[in-house]
Symmetry: C2
Subunit: 130 residues, 2 copies
């Protein structure tokens, strides 16, 4: 099967600089930041409203892609398990799925809350929440 | 920003051959099928159990990547809106996110239910549901 190529549609700006300070999951986070969607994708944002919860897919560009077993939540007192049974950023294709509240929209800048993602992480997709 | 390369971790086998017969979303589907995880990723499955709901990311290899506005649910009586405010398979990076029930596990074969995805679609990630 051939490799897949993805070009980011945007980038995240926030104050989270290290994994240690970053919440493990979006449902445990009150951190806010801004998704900058690149101008060529502006039309794709039509219909997103302040107050919506959106599903955002990030490419975790600093994650280890070579490891298949991890301690859940990085807790070394817990036995290792397969990465596909966890939400660890460590996995062969480190795509994160976060549900974020849209607090403000300024053209292609979306202010969002609920971040569990490091600053400068590429954004690869945005979807409606089911 | 440089392009991202993804190698699939598996492939879906199911009886859905056309978009017309495929449910729009996993929460509207009772279709079953089998995810074949490639053997080199076997260890990553450790900890997934029958009865779990898993989050599966698919690469929609037949989706149009050039369109930024669509009719919601393909319904031409509804006005077009930006793809990022929909769940359309049409989008610049067509990664689908489905929540599927694990009905059986046989080594690297996961029988799953709730499919809204065409047969032979590449699988790029599997995660725990929050």
């Amino acid at each position: 099967m051939t490799a897949i190529t993805i070009n980011p549609i945007g980038i995240l700006h926030c104050d989270l600089q290290t994994r240690k300070e970053t919440p493990k999951n979006y449902d445990e986070s009150e951190h806010a930041g801004t998704i900058e969607v690149f101008p060529e994708f502006r039309e794709g944002l039509e219909g997103i409203r302040v107050g919506d919860t959106i599903v955002v897919l990030f490419w975790l560009d600093r994650a280890d892609r070579t490891v298949l077993r991890v301690h859940p939540r990085g807790d070394t007192s817990r036995p290792k398990r397969g990465v596909f049974s966890t939400r660890s950023p460590v996995r062969p294709n480190p795509v994160a799925v976060s549900e974020l509240l849209v607090e403000d929209i300024d053209d292609t800048l979306l202010k969002v809350r609920g971040l569990d993602i490091l600053d400068s992480t590429p954004v690869i997709d945005i979807k409606k929440k089911i």
